[in-house]
């Protein structure tokens, strides 16, 4: 009788053990994922670069007694593929010290709040040169959880969410991503795993990304960009910096430059245009949007004297 009662008592517990073990495994795997993501951030070339560039940007100081001007070049893949940093640094030394911060897939809101965070952590360059296309200046999107982890301050997350039109669920995800390296960078981890495991993934991935490469309308640029540039200018000025907008090289059919110049004038923002629209032939572009090695060289050579 006692053994039967004991069996009847143990069976439910044995069944529950499965759930408990699964939950335990989940917790362990989550911890491992977090540790793994932190390790990956040290191993991954891109993540290491981003970490180092953020650190360099935070350490920048302006108004130096030796008269050297410090310039922070900020932007996304247009900057990464468009400017040869070592060549530019060599060209501009010793009068100008250039540091770069590149985060791919970013747009206006990412950079507004990224600069807020950098400034709050002590970054004080003399000049911030921001390279974004017109559509990226107009965009209300952000790089989501990744930006929340790498670029945004905790105190700005609600404002980011409001400006990006995020739901409460998406906002809560930003909060998790801010604290969790794994959650914030899981998309990059996934891309890396897939490219390692599946043949041809590196060629396929650009086709799977949701890129908006349509030219922006001139009316939208004139209507919205001045206020955005003015916000960025105000932010930079509050921290002793000047904002400069750097225009990417574009093919002939993209005629946003005029509108961007007008918008920048309204916002009292300096604009640099190393290459007029259509000045670079298609042969200097790798995909009609980003420059190839030759284009990068030419663009950098044109940029240096302007800086």
């Amino acid at each position: 009788m006692d053994s039967r009662r004991q069996d009847a008592h143990e069976r439910p517990l044995a069944r529950l053990r499965v759930a408990v073990l699964v939950v335990l495994c989940t917790a362990i795997l989550l911890v491992l994922a977090e540790l793994g993501a932190k390790a990956a951030a040290r191993i991954s070339r891109i993540e290491r670069r981003t970490t180092e560039e953020i650190s360099s940007a935070v350490r920048m100081r302006g108004g130096r007694a030796d008269g050297v001007r410090t310039v922070l070049l900020a932007g996304n893949s247009l900057l990464l593929e468009g400017v040869d940093l070592p060549a530019l640094q060599q060209e501009l030394r010793p009068a100008v010290e250039v540091e770069r911060l590149v985060v791919e897939g970013t747009a206006y809101l990412d950079w507004y709040y990224a600069l807020r965070r950098l400034f709050s952590e002590g970054s004080r360059p003399d000049v911030v040169v921001l390279k974004l296309s017109a559509i990226q200046l107009l965009s209300d999107g952000i790089r989501g959880d990744y930006s929340a982890n790498r670029l945004f301050a905790l105190g700005d997350l609600l404002d980011v969410s409001r400006d990006a039109g995020y739901s409460m669920t998406a906002t809560s995800s930003l909060l998790f991503a801010h604290y969790s390296t794994y959650y914030g960078t899981r998309m990059e981890l996934r891309k890396w795993f897939l490219s390692e495991l599946m043949p041809g993934m590196k060629e396929l991935q650009p086709r799977l990304a949701r890129l908006n490469r349509k030219p922006a309308s001139e009316s939208a640029i004139r209507r919205r960009v001045p206020a955005r540039l003015a916000e960025l200018q105000r932010l930079a000025n509050q921290h002793g910096a000047h904002l400069v907008l750097l225009l990417p090289a574009t093919s002939a059919e993209r005629s946003e430059s005029r509108a961007l110049f007008d918008a920048a004038r309204k916002a009292s923002t300096v604009v640099l245009e190393p290459a007029a629209p259509g000045a670079f032939p298609a042969a200097l572009f790798s995909d009609g949007f980003h420059l190839n090695a030759g284009g990068k060289r030419a663009y950098t050579q044109a940029l240096a004297p302007l800086l």
């Binding site: 989501g144 998790f176 993934m201």
Partner: protein, 468 residues
């Protein structure tokens, strides 16, 4: 809050722990408050809508049940149905019908009429809880169900959060008694709940979200120019996306309910293993297809009024079923194709499989899968023109090198889902390896978590059926 986000589990886990410390009535009150919080999290403005609908239906049902006056009972039924379908019609279909009317007038050469198009937001879950409410009031009217005595119990039946936003549409005879009676803490149910949630997350985050990348790329043109290769990859990817997305959601909903002692009806039973379209509709979105059968097809007469009217009823049911999915002619066409094919199966005397050969069954499965894929083109396309262009693109015979890695990508994420389905079909399970030894389930669960952590980092796609 989406089921695949951390905030959902921050909400769910403490709720379950507190829930099991309460008595039944306290549990229901707590769950009701939590469900309204869950709903308000989406958009607090629509809580009033579900409250109004709940109050009207609760009191209407009680008066219907307690009244002997036929006309009064009928009037109350009509009031309830008018309110429920009125809300649904206004929020979901006003702009669609306004636009369609304007376009039709222009197409007929009549003067263009300025029709006000309102900025109407779609209340989350309205298609689902409306059907649940209608089932309740109709069942009470026909005496199949006693009305709920407690407003809290009825409100919880309508708004219980795991099913509130995207089903499964619960039958009052199935869920209401569970709400009204004590739930017991059953370790096996808890285990089932955890495993269902994991299976659901795997389906949604690993299979659906990755297939979505391919489907979106194919339908938007970024995978390549129109061709048979792009077309097939896109439609196969979408077929697995929509199945994994919706069945994954249903799994998480059922699993969440299980954690609190509720059993929700099964919503999917390996639909891509169906051997006929009739079989498909007994396996796909079962809660909706059975609702349409019981509350639309059969009241229209079903197959009792002769062959012609049977076909009429089939077509009407599927057309309205298509329209239920969304305010777009593409859904109507999707439903129409299904209605015509079901009618054709009836005409040809195609019945349920029985004693068929293995080869015949698999030929039928593959053929049916491709028919269903064809209809998914209309489901996925933005409009009829886009669907037509997509189909036309599939007549172009061209192969591009990058389509090979795309095909490998598709196979990598769809085959696991297919294997899960084969196992569940063979073993008659509600989730994979349900009847296996505990140790096996632990390893499978841990494996699912591992795959989730590695492959779920896609841009967050909302569950497809949330838009319905």
């Amino acid at each position: 809050m989406f089921f695949d986000t951390p905030v959902y589990f921050v909400f769910l886990i403490p709720l379950v722990f507190i829930y099991w410390r309460l008595e039944r009535k306290q549990q229901n009150v707590m769950l009701l408050a939590a469900s309204y919080f869950f709903y308000g999290w989406w958009d607090w403005r629509f809580v009033s809508l579900i409250l109004i609908s709940t109050l009207v239906d609760f009191f209407a049902a009680r008066y219907i049940a307690n009244s002997a006056n036929h006309w009064r009972r009928r009037a109350l039924l009509i009031l309830s149905l008018t309110l429920n379908f009125g809300f649904l019609g206004f929020f979901k279909y006003f702009n669609f019908f306004a636009d369609s009317l304007a376009s039709t007038l222009v197409a007929l050469g009549l003067p263009a009429v300025s029709v006000t198009v309102l900025q109407i937001l779609l209340p989350p879950g309205i298609s689902f809880y409306t059907f649940q409410a209608v089932a309740y009031i109709v069942d009470v009217y026909f005496g199949k169900l006693e009305p709920a005595d407690s407003l809290v119990d009825y409100a919880l039946f309508i708004s219980l959060f795991p099913h509130l936003i995207a089903g499964p549409i619960q039958r009052p005879s199935h869920l209401l008694p569970q709400v009204q009676h004590r739930r017991t803490l059953d370790p096996e149910r808890i285990t089932d709940g955890v495993m269902m949630i994991l299976q659901g997350l795997f389906r949604k985050c690993v299979v659906a979200d990755n297939c979505a990348l391919l489907a979106d790329a194919a339908f938007s043109g970024s995978l390549g120019g129109p061709s048979l290769g792009v077309g097939l990859i896109g439609v196969y990817a979408f077929s697995w996306q929509i199945y994994a997305d919706f069945s994954g959601y249903s799994d998480i909903a059922r699993g969440s309910a299980q954690l609190m002692g509720f059993h929700f009806m099964v919503n999917f039973r390996q639909p891509y293993l169906a051997v006929s379209l009739q079989d498909f509709w007994r396996r796909w979105h079962i809660s909706l297809s059975s609702w349409l059968r019981d509350y639309l097809y059969i009241p229209l007469g079903g197959n009792r009024l002769g062959e012609v009217k049977t076909y009429r009823n089939l077509l009407a049911t599927m057309l309205l079923g298509g329209l239920w999915h969304g305010a777009n002619w593409t859904f109507v066409v999707w439903g129409g194709i299904h209605g015509l094919w079901l009618s054709m199966e009836r005409l040809l005397g195609i019945k349920e499989p029985g004693g068929r050969s293995f080869v015949r069954d698999w030929v039928a499965r593959i053929a049916l899968f491709h028919l269903v894929c064809l209809t998914w083109i209309f489901f996925r396309a933005q409009n009829l023109g886009a669907a037509r262009d997509y189909l036309a693109g599939m007549t172009v015979l061209r192969w591009e090198p990058h389509l090979l890695p795309a095909a490998i990508f598709l196979i990598a994420f769809s085959v696991p889902m297919f294997v899960i389905d084969l196992l569940m079909e063979a073993r008659g399970e509600e989730y994979v390896l349900q009847f296996s030894k505990g140790r096996t389930r632990v390893w499978v669960g841990a494996g699912a978590v591992g795959l989730l952590l590695l492959f779920s980092g896609n841009l967050s796609n909302a569950f497809i059926y949330f838009q319905f």
